[in-house]
């Protein structure tokens, strides 16, 4: 049978605020356990939540970036359940009226663009962490993360493969980091996905029973978990079984998903409007203000790079992989004579390789756009060859400095002026009359012999193109 896969993602993006969503505690990562758990985060008797304006700003920014509707009035609700990392016994979230609804994200898989619809995005608080290392068989609870603001972004079940799910997650990741609402650090849990996966015979209208795979915090795990889950569901149905709606966890060590038994008992979250929080009102003026501050979005910039600079969609995609990448490229461009293709090649080639070698982000590059631009300018005007430029790039990377000064100091300047090249060529011809005769008799291969000798004679500094011209001219003469 031919199976169709149906996937929807729920993504939790930790919002890049200084303080928590409902308290004045810090959200910084890595503090000593419970050092950043304030009275409110601990749910001491009598404490109350007050909403952080910056978290709302982030939600508006996201809504505007995806063409969604930002609600003029939204409601915070309590989701009630008991868990030791949930100090109040309820999570403050949004339920019936979220701050953002609708919107789309565009993805590209195998050269094919698709629009994925978003259901909603809502504000909520994160829970703490349970640590299971040995405390005499007990668990330790750290509530530093409790109350960290999250934007939960829910997609429609529009994704049809693990690859599409990953492309969507990557596009979302690029967007939330681009607009600065999330640091995107997946190891620290700042961006994590739950995948709802089901399968159905192709052509069948009604959806199959879905399973939710929780807490996938890398693109690779997301892909592998979904692939495993698809296989599991198809095999199960083909063997005459039925998929049970449940929550599953992905175990990367065994590359499989397994049922979360503790969440099996029928959940009834008893959502109701949080009486401690009044309705969130977002006026048009606030939305306008956020809109005015919004940067050019990655999709638009990618398109612009192809339109304005004649770059391929692929190159433009690489250059807009992150906002810092795009910023680097745009800073580099004027320093390098606005040669977009040359800049694109260098950023995605030498620079990317060097960054990769040292696991650096582009904003931490050892070679600044100004330094690289200075180098590329000398490639453009023929002062140095591409090969020399690569060597010099390594020097710049290792030792810093400036291209012109290095060229000067190392005497690397290309010999491009015709009279100097003519002098070299004439001397060579006088030295090797036999080869000159061979060439003139039609043995064109000998040309390469002269190029090699001329390069050597110039100490590798002869401008190859100029040398070609001079050689051809002189050899042909008489």
């Amino acid at each position: 049978m031919d199976w169709e896969v149906v996937i929807g993602l729920e993504t939790h993006a930790q919002l890049a605020t200084h303080s928590k969503i409902f308290s004045g505690a810090s959200t910084a990562f890595g503090a000593a356990p419970n050092a950043q758990a304030s009275a409110v985060d601990l749910a001491l008797p009598g404490v109350l939540p007050v909403l952080n304006r910056a978290a709302v700003d982030c939600a508006i920014r996201f809504g505007l970036s995806t063409g969604a509707t930002v609600a003029s009035r939204s409601i915070f609700a309590r989701k009630n359940y008991f868990y030791p990392d949930l100090p109040k016994g309820y999570q403050i979230s949004q339920y019936e009226i979220p701050v953002v609804s609708g919107g789309t994200v565009t993805i590209e898989v195998e050269g094919q663009a698709r629009t994925i619809r978003l259901t909603r995005a809502h504000l909520e608080e994160d829970a703490g962490k349970s640590l299971h290392e040995d405390f005499h068989g007990l668990s330790g609870i750290d509530l530093n993360r409790a109350g960290t603001p999250l934007l939960e972004i829910v997609s429609e079940p529009d994704l049809r493969s693990a690859a599409e799910a990953v492309a969507y997650a990557r596009a979302l990741h690029r967007l939330v980091t681009w607009i600065g609402i999330c640091d995107g650090n997946m190891q620290e849990g700042s961006f994590r996905c739950d995948a709802n996966v089901s399968v159905r015979p192709r052509g069948q209208e009604e959806l199959g029973t879905r399973c939710e795979i929780k807490n996938l915090n890398s693109f690779r795990f997301l892909e592998k978990a979904i692939e495993y889950e698809i296989r599991r569901q198809i095999e199960l149905i083909q063997a005459g079984g039925a998929v049970v709606q449940e929550t599953r966890l992905y175990d990367p060590d065994r590359d499989e998903t397994r049922s979360m038994r503790s969440k099996e008992d029928a959940q009834d979250y008893r959502y109701f409007p949080d009486p401690d929080l009044l309705p969130l009102s977002i006026e048009a003026a606030w939305i306008d203000r956020v809109r005015a501050e919004l940067p050019e979005l990655p999709d638009a910039m990618q398109q612009r790079f192809t339109d304005d600079f004649g770059l391929s969609m692929y190159d433009a995609g690489v250059l807009t992989a992150s906002r810092d990448m795009a910023r680097y490229f745009l800073d580099l461009l004027p320093c390098a004579g606005n040669d977009a293709k040359l800049c694109a090649n260098w950023v995605s080639g030498e620079l990317a390789a060097a960054l990769h070698r040292e696991s650096l982000e582009i904003q931490d590059s050892r070679v600044s756009p100004q330094q690289l631009g200075g180098l590329l300018k000398r490639v453009q005007d023929g002062t140095i060859s591409g090969k020399m430029a690569k060597e010099l790039f390594d020097v710049l990377w290792r030792e810093g400095g400036e291209a012109d000064a290095l060229i000067e100091a190392r005497g690397l300047k290309q010999i491009s002026d015709v009279s100097s090249l003519e002098r070299i060529v004439e001397a060579l011809m006088a030295e090797h009359p036999a080869q000159v005769a061979e060439y003139r008799a039609g043995k064109e291969k000998v040309f390469g012999f002269f190029v090699g000798r001329a390069m050597k004679a110039s100490g590798g500094r002869a401008n190859p193109e100029q040398l070609n011209v001079v050689l051809k001219q002189r050899l042909k003469a008489e």
């Binding site: 303080s19 505690a25 419970n34 050092a35 601990l42 007050v50 299971h132 405390f135």
Partner: protein
């Protein structure tokens, strides 16, 4: 409406309240009275009436995004039942 013993056990489970078997019949009886009271609402015509969460029609007031809370772990954990190395200890959490 009346609550069965099964209903009461399910509610107690949701609310994480251990119910002794001896408590159940008394509760069932009290609940009959309480439901009799609140079921009066079912007869009220509220067609077209918006639910009201707060008597005063106010909007959320927002905080500025500033860290105002300092580390008070020692003070807060001085009233905790069981802590070790700054962590609250509980029976093993099984996921």
């Amino acid at each position: 409406m009346a609550l069965t013993d099964t209903d009461l056990r399910r509610l107690a489970r949701l609310a994480r309240l251990r119910l002794e078997e001896t408590e159940i019949s008394g509760l069932r009886e009290q609940f009959a009275g309480i439901l009799g009271l609140i079921d009066q609402l079912q007869a009220v015509d509220t067609h077209g009436i918006e639910p009201l969460s707060h008597a005063l029609d106010l909007e959320a007031r927002l905080r500025e995004d500033v860290v105002t809370e300092m580390d008070q772990r020692a003070r807060f954990q001085s009233v905790a039942p069981q802590v070790e190395e700054g962590l609250y200890l509980v029976p093993k959490v099984i996921e």
